[in-house]
């Protein structure tokens, strides 16, 4: 479904990704963990070309882009395979919740407006915002905005949804509602890649967990393997700071 081969990315002399190989099966939920600055968000953003990898190959749903010299149409085609949920939500500020969700359907996928509207309303109801259709992002709480963001991503019916720390900028009391929505769609068999700091959530929802540090994959495996019997010293160190219930111990 998704295959990354030797993805490298440098900013000037600083190499952020040092050759990442990764493959994700259809319907799999993958959590990417790692300390700040480890390159996990960069890796995720490379998958839809919001960051340009310096080298490597990306394949999503049978479409391959060679990162050496991709054409504009390659990048565009690759982006259409995925959707992204952002840390800062990034809802279109001048559009209502409903318009945010409809935008991709109408403009990119050319779905007739009425049908797009119906689909979008259903999705917003699914994320529990059926009563906020006409609200602008500035009128919604962080948790609500992020749920609109998830509905916007779902609307495109993408092959994979990329979550970039979806709860990191939320108040603790709003994290729950967003995680509940992600949990719900994870059960529907949509392929998802989630960069997160929510250890407990990763353990619960992901089928596969990857630990990244310093631009390389240190360890990967099932949540049980990684959380309960990590092999690498670096992984153990990192996980030590989190207690099993997902809260921090300092």
């Amino acid at each position: 479904m998704i295959k990354l081969t030797q993805i490298k990315k440098s900013y000037g002399r600083h190499q952020v990704l040092k050759g990442i190989d990764l493959s994700v099966e259809q319907g799999e939920v993958v959590a990417i963990l790692g300390p700040s600055g480890s390159g996990k968000t960069t890796l995720l953003r490379c998958m839809n070309y919001l960051e340009r990898p310096s080298e490597g190959e990306i394949t999503i749903d049978g479409f391959t882009v060679n990162c050496k010299r991709p054409s504009k149409s390659d990048i565009h085609a690759l982006r259409k395979k995925s959707a992204m949920v952002f840390q800062q939500y990034n809802l279109f500020r001048h559009k209502t919740a409903l318009e945010n969700v409809m935008e991709g359907l109408v403009i990119v996928q050319k779905v007739p407006k009425e049908q797009a509207r119906k689909q979008s309303i259903e999705l917003l109801e699914k994320v529990g915002l059926g009563n906020k259709l006409d609200s602008y992002p500035s009128q919604l709480s962080g948790g609500q905005q992020q749920r609109v963001g998830i509905a916007r991503a779902l609307a495109l019916n993408p092959k994979v949804i990329l979550f970039d720390e979806p709860t990191s900028s939320l108040d603790p009391e709003l994290v729950g509602e967003v995680l509940a929505v992600i949990r719900k769609i994870a059960k529907e068999g949509i392929t998802m890649i989630i960069v997160t700091h929510e250890m407990g959530f990763a353990q619960e929802v992901a089928g596969h967990v990857i630990f990244i540090d310093d631009g390389t994959i240190v360890e990967s495996g099932t949540p049980d393997e990684l959380f309960n019997s990590p092999k690498e010293e670096r992984t153990k160190q990192f996980l030590k700071r989190f207690t099993p219930d997902g809260t921090y111990s300092i």
Binding site: N48, Y49, L50, H76, R79, K80, S82, A83, M84, F86, Q88, N90, L91, F92, R93, H94, K95, T96, E103, G104, I107, V108, Q109, K132, S135, Y136, P137, S138, Q139, L140, S141, R152, A153, L156
Partner: protein, 236 residues
């Protein structure tokens, strides 16, 4: 000194006939200037090779020279260029058939374009990067993302500056008297000199300019309120 209030009124009525001229110069220059400004801002944002340095030179040269100088250079230079081209290519068109106001349109559009390109650039920069990324992430092309997501927000941001520029252009348009276009200011001079009531005639012109300015301010405020509806905030 005695003020002839009656004459101010008379002058005011007479001046109304040339209000369309002033408005046309202001509107055409601002609209064409905005179009130039958008193109220049995009060239500079995407650092289009060659054009980028041309655009940068254009902006610094035009902003570094007075609007009156632009008008005079266009007025005296453009006919020479057009006529020599016409001879060379055998066109029947000659510069004398360009109406005087045409020079004002061209020159002021060039002036406004330079200033507005900076306004547009600041607006584009003020739109969060995440907006463009979100547009890309749902599969939009750059054109769609700019047209539907970035520009509408940038426009809302620069609206106050645009209204400012429009008012500047309204007042700057008085320079057209140098190329014998009769606008409000020129007309007030004509009225004044034929009646020897300079003070009254200029007061009348000032009142009209002020009135138009207030109108622009009101319109802009209305538009701003409407366009910025999404920024009002407050959880519903």
């Amino acid at each position: 000194m005695k003020i002839d209030l009656q004459f101010i009124w008379t002058a005011l009525i007479e001046l109304l006939s040339v209000v369309p001229t002033t408005l046309a110069i202001t509107a055409v220059s601002m609209l064409c200037g905005l179009a130039i400004g958008i193109v220049v801002a995009l060239i500079r944002r995407y650092r289009v090779p060659v054009l980028n340095s041309v655009a940068a030179s254009y902006v610094t040269f035009i902003r570094g020279t007075p609007m009156l100088t632009h008008l005079l250079i266009i007025y005296f230079g453009l006919p020479v260029i057009i006529d020599s081209l016409a001879v060379q290519f055998g066109w029947s068109f000659r510069s004398v058939s360009i109406p005087m106001i045409g020079f004002a349109y061209i020159s002021f559009s060039i002036t406004a374009g330079a200033y507005l390109s900076e306004v547009v650039r600041s607006g584009l920069q003020a739109v969060e990067k995440g907006q463009l990324e979100a547009a890309y992430s749902i599969g939009m092309t750059t054109r769609q993302a700019m047209g539907r997501i970035v520009f509408p927000q940038a426009f809302a941001i620069i609206l106050p500056s645009l209204s400012n520029s429009t008012i500047s252009m309204l007042h700057g348009s008085t320079l057209v008297f140098t190329v014998s276009v009769v606008d409000i200011n020129a007309k007030s001079q004509i009225i004044a000199s034929s009646n020897w009531k300079f003070f009254e005639a200029y007061i009348a012109a000032a009142i009209i300019y002020w009135g138009i300015t207030i109108l622009i301010e009101r319109l802009s405020a209305l538009l701003e309120k409407r366009i910025n509806i999404y920024n009002r905030g407050g959880v519903t």
